[in-house]
């Protein structure tokens, strides 16, 4: 019966929008919750202007065991019954919809702005704010704890280090954190609105700057959406080079993170070595495409740069030395008792919390939740060459560090295998016009977690709605929960162990 309520599509595929049944809201709610209860989770959940007029609500549920996605849609009125009480991982998605379209999810337990921008439909505002004014980031009611010895600590948006802006509000009892509320939106650039009517000439550049440290993953997701809509997959060699870029991105960030964790606990050697090694991985990416952050590497239809002139041999040779140093620095880190004593048991997220909140990526894997887009929704070279999903158990800072360490080993191995059997042939194909009135989605496992892009085209083959879900969107709530009951002095360490993106969240 449920198959009549939804459409199932694979990663990177498209479907005509008309084929997704337009359920009434109650049927939609029941179907989505039933899908959730059967073990699926929310990959994307967003509203769009319907072709018929009015608003529509789309749910994209990831079905890990079936390696596909279930799509649901329903017309959306000015008010709708919130599903968050039954499905907590929707809480931020529903807040986002309320903010973007000025509709009200009734019964939402935590209805606050997400990015502090004015509603896209002028005159409709979920919080009844004055139309035409720009809301100030952080302008909301923060949760407050009262009582003897309770104090409040506010951190940011301007921080002591050179990092992105975000506001953190701690409710503390002495050194113990009772509650942490995170308020972001300082870097909102309106990317989803900029993409409406696209793809524009500037769209490539915009995709690469959704989150600068996840350039390759976001650009790959975008390219796959376009290729899905055009019905032309990228050539095999291009797919392999994309995977190289993606794994180098993972290595650079994982190595940098282990170094940063080491710096935060005051352990000098690994901090210094990993800081340098991160640069080595960035330089390898620069060898591929001339940009240390992989800009220009991935392009819709293929890749912008080929591996020519013995570049694969050069990469392998450089990687050999870098690999030895990386593994050495990591081994030292994980063999030092004072480091382990500092990491273990700090910032725990239980497996059930991780599943309820719908955490993704390495933060989820560290809690023992098997969740890896390369494993469950593989495309391209990952279909044959990836079978080592790393999970850990305890969900503490140590587990998140250890997942990184083991993923570094897996990625190094993967890159070497890829370079040894690189497919030959074209590296790019010109993609044709996008099919009209269709929905395409792609999910790419970036270093932080899954990057999900969904595009809906209008009758002219241009984007009617483009939805971006950065892994940070799922995971910031995980950080807030990790802090419950820990010491406030452990916050920087927990924060670093998640290392979430502010701009990826703010879009």
């Amino acid at each position: 019966m449920r198959s009549k309520q939804s459409v199932r599509i694979a990663n990177g595929a498209k479907t005509p929008v008309a084929q997704i049944p337009r359920l009434d809201y109650d049927t939609f709610a029941d179907a989505v919750l039933a899908e959730f209860d059967s073990g699926s989770r929310v990959a994307a959940y967003f509203a769009a202007q319907a072709a018929e007029g009015g608003l529509e609500l789309y749910a994209v549920m990831a079905r890990e065991r079936n390696a596909n996605f279930a799509l649901f849609r329903t017309p959306l009125g000015e008010r709708f019954q919130s599903l968050t009480p039954n499905c907590p991982q929707l809480h931020l998605f529903e807040r986002e919809i309320a903010e973007q379209f000025g509709v009200t999810p009734e019964g939402h337990p935590w209805l606050k702005p997400v990015r502090f921008h004015a509603s896209w439909r002028t005159g409709h505002d979920a919080w009844g704010r004055e139309p035409g004014t720009h809301p100030r980031p952080g302008d909301m009611e923060f949760y407050q704890v009262e009582g003897d010895g309770i104090h409040e600590v506010a951190v940011g948006p301007v921080h002591a280090g050179v990092i992105e802006p975000g506001h953190f509000r701690f409710q503390c009892h002495g050194e113990q954190v009772l509650h942490l509320e995170i308020s972001l939106g300082y870097q909102h650039r309106g990317l989803e609105r900029l993409l409406a009517g696209g793809p524009h000439p500037a769209s490539n550049r915009q995709m690469e700057t959704i989150a600068g440290d996840t350039t390759v993953a976001h650009m790959t997701a975008y390219s796959k959406v376009l290729e899905g809509l055009a019905g032309q997959p990228a050539p095999p060699r291009a797919q392999a080079i994309r995977a190289l870029g993606l794994e180098l991105e993972r290595l650079a960030n994982h190595v940098g993170d282990i170094g940063a964790l080491s710096g935060d606990v005051g352990f000098l050697p690994t901090a210094a070595f990993c800081g340098r090694l991160r640069g080595d991985y960035l330089n390898l990416t620069a060898l591929l495409c001339g940009s240390r952050f992989g800009r220009g590497l991935v392009r819709p239809g293929g890749v912008g740069f080929d591996l020519d002139g013995g570049l694969d041999g050069q990469l392998l040779a450089t990687l050999d030395g870098v690999q030895r140093n990386t593994l050495g620095a990591c081994r030292l880190f994980f063999a030092t008792p004072s480091v382990l004593g500092r990491l273990e048991g700090v910032g725990r997220v239980s497996r059930s919390t991780a599943e309820d909140l719908g955490l993704v990526g390495l933060a989820a894997r560290a809690c023992g939740v098997p969740r890896d887009g390369r494993f469950f929704f593989p495309t391209g070279v990952y279909k044959e060459s990836f079978d080592e999903m790393i999970t850990d158990e305890l969900g503490d800072v140590f587990a998140r560090a250890r997942v990184r360490h083991r993923e570094i080993e897996v990625s190094l191995n993967l890159i070497q295998r890829l370079l040894n059997v690189l497919p030959t042939g074209e590296t790019a194909s010109k993609i044709g016009p996008l099919s009209p009135d269709s929905l395409a989605l792609s999910l790419v496992e970036g270093w932080r977690g899954e990057v999900a892009h969904v595009a809906i085209t209008g009758g002219d083959g241009h984007f009617r709605r483009y939805k971006i879900v950065d892994p940070s969107f799922h995971n910031w709530s995980g950080l807030a929960m990790a802090l419950r009951g820990t010491q406030i002095s452990d916050f920087p360490l927990c924060n670093k162990s998640f290392n979430l993106s502010y701009c990826g969240f703010d879009l």
Binding site: V153, G161, F267, P269, F273, T336, S338, V339, Q487, P492
Partner: protein
Amino acid sequence: MLIRLFWHLALLLGLSPLLLGVIAKTKAGFAGRKGPPLLQPYYDLARLFRKDMVISRTTTWLFRAGPVVGITAPLVACLFVPFGAIGAPLGFDGDLIFVIYLLGLSRFCTAVAALDTGSAFEGMGAAREVTFACLVEPTVFFVLIVLVRLTGSFSLGGLFGPALATGWHTAAPSLMLAIFCMLVVTLVENCRIPFDDPTTHLELTMIHEVMVLDHSGPDFGMILYGAAMKLLLLGAMTVGLALPVSLGSAPLDAAVFALAMLILAVLIGVVESVIARLPLLKVPQLLIGTSLLSFFALILLLR
């Protein structure tokens, strides 16, 4: 007397920032970096004293008093502590308590100045600092009682004098424990790893650094200089315990003392390089352990 005062002040004012430079250089060596020049702390102080200050409107005179006491208290306290074989210029019976509470006074004023800013961070830092200070105090006093018992003197000049050299023949185990305890005290009181991380920028994990976040320019320079003197003072007590020898000539003694202090700075740099910082909750446990160790040193002596 005047010559002693001269050597004392020369060592105190000249040597103390160098210790910080040596620690930074050692750490840089472990990290495979070149590191800042050895004299960087002097350049920093010179730069800070040339700067203007930004003072929050919410603060009162207490905020300005913090740095002044923060530099004068260690300066005065140092005059009671012998630097190796160079005797203390000042001293009276019971000055050991005076010196410890001079340091307490400087801490009190720094903490009050921090509270005066009204910042949540600085209040948190002040709470941590005074908590740890309470736990360090027993250790310091037990070590001093060991020395008093051994030398029969009630002044710091006497404690670290020739009587201590003979004490090494009879009570070496106690003194070894005392040296270890003083080393820990030196690390805690000067906010070094594993107790605090003087180089971190993470305000939520700081202990001492967070209390002085609002100070700038000359005020901050005074705080840094005062902290360097405190390092020298506690280091001098550690070195005095370990090396109660005199070569007979003031310049030679000064050189030996300076060398010993530099070795201590290298040692601190090594400790900071090879171990990570303790979780904040573990620090009190370790300090109580050190107190017990110093008590044990006393028991060994009374046996």
